[in-house]
Amino acid sequence: MASMNSIRDTFFEECEELLEALAEGLQLMEAGEHDGETVNAVFRAVHSIKGGAGAFALNALVAFAHRFETVLDALRSDKIALTPEVMHVLLRSADHLADQVESAREEREVDAEATAGFLTNLDACLGEIEAPPAPGSAEDEDPCFGFAAVSLDFGPIEVEPAPVAEAPPDPAAPPGYQIRFTPQPALYANGHDPALIFASLADLGALQVTLDASALPDWDGFDPAGSYLSWTLRLATAEPETVLHEIFEFVEGLCTLEIGPAPAETPMDSAPPEAPPADSAAASEHANDHTGDPQAYSMVSPGAEPPPALPDPAEAQALPAGAKPRRDARPAEDDGASGGPKPTLRVDLERVDRLINAVGELIINQAMIEQSILDLSLPTDAEVITHVEDYRLLARDIQEAVMAIRAQPVKPLFQRMSRIVREAAEATGKSARLVTVGEATEVDKTVIERLADPLTHMIRNAVDHGLESREARLAAGKDPEGTIRLQAAHRSGSVFITVRDDGAGLNRARIRDKAVSKGLIPAEAELTDAEIDNLLFMPGFSTAERISNLSGRGVGLDVVKNAVTALGGRVAITSQPGEGTEFIISLPLTLAVMDGMVISVAGQTMVIPIASVIETIRPGPGDLHDMGTSEKLLSIRGRFLPMIDVAQCLGFPLRDSDEAPLLLLVETESQTQCALIVDAVHDQRQVVIKGLESNYGSIPGVSAATVLGDGQIALILDSEALTSNRSFTGHMQGRSFPSSAGVAHV
């Protein structure tokens, strides 16, 4: 049972990939950049889903995929044209197919009514052309049974009925051999397997195997240990005959073997033996069109490109023409077609994470060793110092390589968003298209997963509220179709994801009014444009005042912000009246390591992300200016910047030294600068980020922790939270722990 479940899991995993391929192909088709192969790829994706679904008796899914596939097939054979209407139906059907797969995975029932609606739309696409299915063709049967892809995976051997018709005779084919191979019972008794021998032969070139099972007796006289089968093999290879003999070396004397040159062009299997099919599945499925057909199998060695194909006229004739398109799309062929995807390895994520953890420990261990050696005060030319340096570089290499395993392109995530745009556009009656840039940008898998919801929300918002109605856009002299631009890029150790609409921009007066009416800001508050824009992210700003199927502008934007913050990222917003609004999410490249500056604060060793530090300053007495009762300003290059005492922010005992403090000039996401007061700066190094959340909880001003070379834990400061003084204080008031009052009165 367990193995069935794991097969089922694999099926759904594959479905995900197939749906991605489907979305990708449809996207190309939508953009008009497709060719025949694109449509084929789309067809194959749907077909493969159908095939897998058939195996799990997911009948609703099979039926829908089948109809979908019929339309794609008609499209492929130019029976219908790819009009915008058809394109729309295809896209929506792909969405629905994804829904159905999802439902099947969760073992839910699909909304039959919705399915019926999509089916009607699909049928409408076929319109006048021959009402599918064509009589007598495979489509005529119940889709569950009509499907013919039983792909048996025998390692390198693809046992499939020979692909015919697509393999024209190749005059340049290397000379071949015809081999007649009849094993004796002793061959099997000695543990030899003809399939393995054939596989070795297939490594030499295209191999065609024809089984002669005519010697099989009736069951009455059947000896299970006997040998009744013989094969005629045709191998197209330039290798000398001796190589073939080497392959048969171990079975020599255990079989009757005849090796001769292949007869040119003679259809060797024109006289079909009365062979009962060896493969019952293949038999039932081809019973109609294979009557009397020899069981012809073709083995194409994976490396042989292009396969020096051997014609098989007999088979080609035996096949009714109607069955041909079906066979083109066998999933087993997907691997060979179009160069095939890069080989990949499916690995349990847990194993990767275990590796990542171990590498994290390695980095710490490396730092400890380095520290110990440093403490020995060896001469700088000591050999061990060179070794330690090498060790450090190696450890970092390993770490980077391991982290790269977790990195995944944002493409699937972005592709999902095109669906969101479609749905949102449909719901609001606007026309919108999604333009994606930088799909290959790689981001940590966890980031991608946790970004899906906030991104969905922002995309919906952008369509629903960012874009104007068609009429308004026309009136403003814009393209009536709005554009949502979704972009990913790596920049200075961060990943930037931007969502930009070309709508009307934020209505700041309205936002401000709303914030006042919600009591979020005092009526007389003077806010800059940027501050007004940021009101959208305030919890409580969202309002049900605007009735919308999707979302009100601002609804849940605080949730978006929280989700991004939880990933260690930031959200910023910019808007130009009449030109649109842009949300910028910046995220750390990885959740596991960071370049940090090691500092001391209130006697504690801490780490601050190096990305935020501009410079370190030891100010002279004249550079410091009092401001009010407790605040100090730093004057630097003609500007005055606020100074923030980190120890005070963290609630640690204050320093009472008279010496001038050491300052870290930091810059925040919103480009404002300020100076952090620290005790000392020690070192810059890469640190492994260890979350505090899971075992403890979040701490204002601290983003995470790390383990230093001496095994001690150092806190990683959240420079953003420390510097955005206002929000930080607010945060603290909300979350501070007033003198452990809860336990004091025991």
Partner: protein, 152 residues
């Protein structure tokens, strides 16, 4: 299980904190470690001493004595940290000494008497009589959640 009167069905690790005996269901206990220096956390309640490095994991250390209002645990080389796990959360409890592993029947655990301190009552699920008096069975979730309660 067939004979509940003679067979114990629960095991507790008992330890001393603030001069009193406490115990924790052994299924929560992962290991006992010697005390090592911790890194203090900002804005932490006083029973949270800081975080410790447990083979690469950052775990918070709670001073059990301080948690029950018995004053901070005095520094002593005999102090140990009981590393405990609840759900996916790993924490350390600083105690003065681990005494023994107690095998009892669940029926031997008495409900916490009606005491005045709400906080203590919520963190103690019951008491078990032992030779030297009794041991207090702590509710690990409640002990470490005190932080969240105060924050709210």
């Amino acid at each position: 299980m067939s004979d509940p009167d003679t067979r114990s069905d629960a095991e507790f690790v008992t330890f001393q904190a603030g001069g009193q005996s406490f115990s924790l269901d052994i299924t929560h206990v992962r290991e006992i470690r010697r005390w090592s220096a911790v890194t203090p956390l900002p804005h932490a309640p006083k029973e949270v001493l800081g975080v410790m490095n447990l083979r690469g994991s950052v775990i918070p250390i709670y001073d059990l004595s301080a948690r029950f209002g018995l004053g901070p645990t005095a520094e002593n080389p005999r102090n140990v940290v009981v590393v405990a796990m609840i759900e996916n959360q790993t924490v350390g409890l600083l105690v003065e000494a681990v005494s023994e592993i107690l095998s009892v029947q669940r029926s031997q655990i008495q409900d916490t008497p009606d005491i005045r301190s709400e906080s203590t009552k919520q963190s103690i699920t019951g008491v078990i009589p032992i030779e030297e008096g009794m041991t207090r069975v702590i509710d690990l979730a409640a002990v470490i959640q005190s932080r969240g309660r105060q924050a709210a």
